[in-house]
């Protein structure tokens, strides 16, 4: 597996700033005061067990869910306060890789990739479109799957096409929701390489949501844990897992010994 290479992180330039974020569904309090910043060029892994609210958090970042309380700034804009036009403009600068890939079943791989492109950028020539498709398929290593339907792909391939679909709009921020969940270790490792390649090639800042420690360790500059609706202290992998917090220790323990 390739290691994440050194790259520049600019801590004077946060691309995402979240302060005092709360979110509940009816009686269920999911997020209870989240504060953090994602810096330009940084890969941040957010760890947490199932149901802890990781997906909810990144859905708030992209404006799919509204926060109950708190500020969410992405690339200088307050996501929940701007109008739909500005929000859509902002969304074009963010790539969102869904937990279950969310490929459009009724479209081929090729159409899945061209759909966000042609819907958002008018008057592209066929040549430009094909070039963009080939570029992202090459980046995810699936050039030969262009004509396939999503139902004919394996889980790992679907994840990659999902990532390719977000790359086609050349995002500045990537949000990965469980990029390795449900995949065997070898396929996982390939996805991790891909995440690192994307970071190098497209120079993105990323949030990687996961409950897989190998994934967190190999893709991120900084790690943070979501525990009971709040963030633990952020730090490098070793800093976080050398802490005395019982829940953090448990998480570490169960990830490596079953």
């Amino acid at each position: 597996m390739k290691k994440l290479q050194k790259h520049t992180i600019n801590i004077n330039e946060p691309v995402i700033t979240i302060a005092g974020l709360h979110k509940s569904f009816d009686e269920l309090e999911v997020l209870k005061g989240i504060d953090f910043q994602l810096y330009k060029g940084e890969n941040l892994a957010i760890l947490g067990k199932s149901g802890s609210g990781k997906s909810v958090l990144i859905k708030i970042i992209i404006g799919l869910l509204k926060p109950d309380k708190g500020d969410v700034f992405v690339l200088g804009q307050q996501v929940d306060k701007i109008g739909i036009k500005a929000l859509n403009k902002l969304r074009l600068r963010i790539g969102f890789s869904f937990q279950n890939s969310a490929l459009y079943d009724s479209m081929s791989v090729y159409q899945n990739l061209t759909f966000p492109l042609t819907m958002n950028i008018k008057h592209l020539s066929r040549k430009e479109i094909n070039h963009a498709v080939d570029e992202v398929l090459d980046a995810v290593g699936l050039l030969d799957k262009k004509k396939q339907m999503p139902s004919d792909l394996s889980g790992g391939q679907r994840k990659r096409i999902g990532i390719a679909r977000t790359l086609i709009l050349k995002p500045e921020i990537m949000l990965y929701d469980e990029p390795t969940s449900g995949l065997d270790p070898i396929t996982s490792a390939e996805i991790l390489d891909l995440i690192n390649d994307v970071q190098q090639q497209y120079n993105t800042s990323s949030i990687i949501i996961t409950h897989d420690l190998t994934c967190a360790k190999n893709t991120s500059d900084r790690i943070v844990m979501l525990l009971d609706g709040q963030f633990s202290k952020a730090g490098t992998f070793d800093e976080v897992f050398l802490s005395d917090n019982e829940q953090v220790k448990d998480f570490y323990h169960y990830n490596f010994i079953d």
Binding site: E27, K59, I62, L64, N88, K89, R91, L92, I94, F96, F98, Q99, N100, A102, L103, Y104, D105, S106, F115, P116, M119, N120, R165, T166, L169
Partner: protein
């Protein structure tokens, strides 16, 4: 823990009112968006074809058989009065004023409405609708407006087609007993149909088509709870649509009767 929720009537009845209100807002949103760019004309045409392909064989078969059966059954009572010459015009009235729009709409509710409910429902629960939204594509415009427009355009066309097929079936049956030509038969069939009847039939079909589209997309768009939700969306789309179609039928018949006098 907060207190348990208080309901105005009961959970089910409250849910029904909330549903009605949301469905109404959903329809308002359709009218607001339908005249706004982008129009997705290609997708509307594609959906119209889908609707035609899904329902054409069943509509042809049903129309043809209803035409034959209705004619056979009406012949006897008319013979008693020696009035078999009224047969074409009776069938014409039945087909244009009642059966054409209604039966076509019921068939489309079953075939098209449930299909739309299931399709959008599965897109909803597999987050494909969210995926559109994060790619800055308006899923309401792309999925809902196109489908509702397509059903609103196609159901009247299919109803007209059903009527002609039904009359053709009737003609074949009439010709067994009496000598007549297709032209004469159609002329007789339409002799008692006034403009107002035609308008009412078209208006009805448009309303039915709109209902099929809006209920199917609404149920699909609001599907929850995985694959079970998809089945439920498809099912409910059919039940609610049929219920509304019957109510609309009664209301429109009543209004046209008032307009006649």
């Amino acid at each position: 823990m907060k207190q348990a929720k208080k309901y105005l009537f009961s959970r089910g009845i409250d849910r029904m009112f909330i549903d009605a209100k949301e469905a109404f807002e959903f329809s308002v949103r359709f009218f607001r968006d339908v005249f706004r760019r982008p129009f997705h004309a290609g997708e509307i045409i594609h959906q119209s074809f889908e609707i035609g392909i899904r329902s054409l064989s069943l509509i042809t078969l049903t129309g043809f058989i209803i035409g034959i059966v209705f004619t056979k059954q009406s012949r006897l009572p008319l013979e008693e009065f020696g009035a078999t010459s009224w047969l074409p015009s009776l069938i014409g009235i039945a087909m244009v004023k009642a059966l054409g729009p209604l039966v076509t709409a019921l068939i489309c509710a079953g075939k098209v409405g449930s299909g739309i409910g299931a399709e959008l429902g599965s897109m909803k629960v597999t987050e494909q609708i969210d995926a559109m939204e994060v790619s800055a594509i308006n899923p309401f415009k792309y999925l809902v407006v196109t489908r509702v427009t397509a059903t609103t355009l196609m159901v009247p066309l299919l109803a007209a087609y059903f009527t002609f097929i039904g009359l053709y079936g009737s003609f074949l049956n009439v010709r067994l007993e009496e000598s007549t030509s297709l032209t004469v038969f159609y002329q007789n069939a339409f002799s008692s149909i006034g403009f107002i009847d035609l308008y009412a039939a078209v208006a009805k079909s448009i309303v039915f088509g709109f209902t099929i589209g809006i209920v199917g997309t609404y149920k699909g768009f609001n599907a929850t709870q995985g694959t079970r939700g998809v089945g439920r969306a498809a099912n409910q789309a059919v039940i609610v649509t049929m219920f509304l179609i019957f109510i609309e039928e009664i209301v429109i018949v009543q209004i046209t009767n008032w307009m006649r006098f």
